[in-house]
């Protein structure tokens, strides 16, 4: 029995170390192999736009310019004026959420205008994401917000003005996290 325990001791220690490393992440020893990055290397992969506008790049556009972009790059999938078909409807439905036929669009549902820029820059147009210039993304964002009646067509959107846009349903959400 004694011998058994003496033999066990080192492996118990190993087990304890393993638990420290594998169980509670914070307690773990890191081999420290991550490669440090410069600011420009980070900027090259960072697409996050925050609701308060942090992360928005320099550039600008309005709904007039955005109409051109939309007709050329988006209309075929999202319909005239963002009315939908064959893919998601992007405009209209404001005030419909509490009815028997809720219509969820940027105008009726989305809580933040910055999300439009963030998403279009990441993912649209579907077949050629990343192909729009920063100005074109601002412009088509302005176009979609104007089509929803949220901003004037002459309103120029940029890193300052976009986060200031008040969305109709901004008060329509609560958070399920953290749970009580």
């Amino acid at each position: 029995m004694f011998m058994y325990k003496r033999w066990m001791a080192p492996s118990l220690m190993v087990a304890a170390l393993m638990m420290a490393a594998f169980g509670q992440a914070q307690a773990a020893e890191s081999p420290g192999l991550g490669v440090p990055l410069s600011d420009s290397e980070v900027a090259a992969v960072d697409l996050v736009v925050m609701p308060d506008g942090r992360g928005l790049p320099a550039g600008s556009g309005d709904a007039h310019q955005g109409l051109d972009v939309y007709q050329r790059e988006c209309r075929i999938c999202h319909g005239d004026g963002g009315q939908g078909g064959p893919n998601d409807r992007l405009a209209g439905g404001i005030g419909s959420l509490a009815t028997a036929q809720p219509v969820k669009t940027i105008g009726s549902y989305w809580p933040y205008a910055t999300t439009v820029f963030d998403y279009v820059r990441r993912a649209m147009p579907y077949h050629l994401p990343g192909s729009l210039s920063t100005d074109e993304v601002y412009a088509v964002t302005a176009y979609l917000l104007a089509e929803n009646g949220i901003i004037e067509r002459d309103r120029v959107l940029d890193a300052e003005t976009l986060p200031a846009v008040q969305m109709p349903n901004s008060g329509g959400f609560s958070w399920a996290w953290p749970e009580d």
Partner: protein, 422 residues
């Protein structure tokens, strides 16, 4: 390879003349035919595959060609696209708790990227002292864990929110759940190495797919049990599951477990990405909505019998299904054959794991009359799977995410099941 001719399986001479149609009608297979043949005293018989050596070894395996109906169906994508949609795990054809990797459900937003691991980096940045990058080979040198856990799309079972019961089966209604052994590096280790700043509260994860799909995850979850998964069921992740690396958040809605993980930005707030506001949020009938419904609720479904798996006639059957909860282990599962009037406790298979599928079974003597089968799971927190009525209460029309009400299958006298509401 062609299917064997049934006549090959049946003795053609001697006293053991067998009524071949009997076997075809009752669906008994070759094994039963051979047994009976032996019993009637004929010469020992060999089916064709015992008369010649089989095929040789191979570098990669595949299921039997007789199982070629076991596929991820139905597959669906947004109009005009092939990669903005889902494919579903055929739960009705599977047993146990592990989903074979080839049958793991898919939900992609812009297709499956073909990633060269040598050119893929995970970048950790934002509110950290040192932004760092890691490749898959480097991550392999870090301490790793593996756990058998489910992944469920938050839209799974949402078909049951339709006003009238849809004509669906286990896969079409519930096939957006799968379970695998996931192996990888606890994320806390990597964040620690980058040096978390005290203002950090959320982590915005984004993928290397064409949509650069992004989600915000509370830092608390990231440090608790999140991993950068590299392995699925012992092999490297499949491309459809995030090769060469994905975020894996045990028990949480699948969309947040970002595949093809490319960036993790530590922030002080959520980014309010499209897929955490426009989509995957829960609209109530009063027009108010909830964001960040993360853990998947306790749920169960009977996979056999179920639509497409007809009972052959009155007699004893095994009812079998899966139960799971995003909040921990399954404590118990009950089944009903009378539409929920009376319940019997099901047996659970040996592996009852946290945030994993749990297999349950119950024996059933079917008298051939109509029956309505239901299952109801309870998890270790005491949460009970709700009835459909209570799961629907307060939902807006077409609000289909995070639905965990009970599934009812009505069995008709022909032995066929269909989706019904009770």
């Amino acid at each position: 390879m062609s299917k064997p001719d049934q006549s090959d399986l049946i003795p053609v001479a001697g006293n053991g003349l067998l009524h071949r149609r009997l076997f075809l009608r009752t669906g008994l297979g070759a094994g039963a035919a051979m047994l009976v043949a032996g019993r009637v005293g004929a010469e020992p018989q060999r089916p064709p595959w015992m008369r010649t050596p089989g095929t040789g070894m191979g570098e990669s395996g595949a299921p039997s060609p007789f199982e070629d109906h076991v596929v991820r169906a139905p597959v669906g994508s947004q109009p005009g696209t092939t990669g903005a949609g889902v494919s579903r795990t055929p739960l009705q054809h599977l047993d146990g708790i592990i989903t074979p990797s080839r049958l793991h459900f898919e939900r992609h937003h812009s297709g499956i990227p073909e990633i060269d691991p040598d050119r893929h980096r995970l970048v950790i940045h934002g509110l950290v002292d040192r932004p760092l990058s890691f490749d898959a080979e480097t991550l392999d040198r870090y301490p790793q864990v593996s756990r058998i856990q489910f992944l469920e799309c938050s839209g799974n079972s949402g078909a049951l929110t339709a006003p009238e019961p849809v004509d669906g089966n286990c896969a079409s209604i519930h096939g957006l759940i799968s379970a695998s052994e996931w192996g990888g590096v606890p994320l806390g280790v990597l964040l620690e190495e980058a040096g978390l700043k005290p203002e950090g509260k959320w982590v915005v994860a984004a993928g290397a797919d064409a949509a650069a799909m992004s989600r915000s995850v509370p830092l608390e979850k990231i440090l608790d049990d999140a991993i950068v998964a590299l392995y699925q069921n012992g092999e490297r992740l499949r491309p459809s599951n995030g090769y060469p690396m994905r975020l894996f958040l045990p028990g949480w809605e699948g969309n947040a477990s970002v595949k093809w993980l490319r960036t993790l930005k530590v922030t002080d707030a959520p980014a309010m990405a499209k897929d955490e506001t426009s989509k995957y949020s829960d609209l109530d009938a009063d027009g108010q909505a909830r964001l960040f419904t993360f853990p998947m609720g306790v749920k169960s479904v009977i996979t056999s019998p179920s639509p497409g798996l007809a009972l052959a006639g009155p007699g004893v059957y095994q009812i079998s299904g899966v139960a799971w909860s995003g909040r921990g282990r399954i404590r118990s599962v009950e089944v009903s054959a009378d539409g929920g009037v009376s319940w019997a406790e099901a047996a659970l298979d040996e592996h009852v794991l946290s945030r994993c599928l749990t297999r349950f079974r119950a024996a059933w003597q079917w008298d051939g009359g109509p029956a309505t089968l239901l299952s109801r799971a309870v998890d270790e927190t005491g949460a009970v799977q709700p009835t459909r009525a209570s799961a629907m209460a307060g939902r807006a029309p077409e609000s289909f995410y995070h639905y965990n009400g009970m599934q009812a299958w009505a069995v008709n006298p022909e032995g066929a099941s269909r989706n019904v509401y009770v």
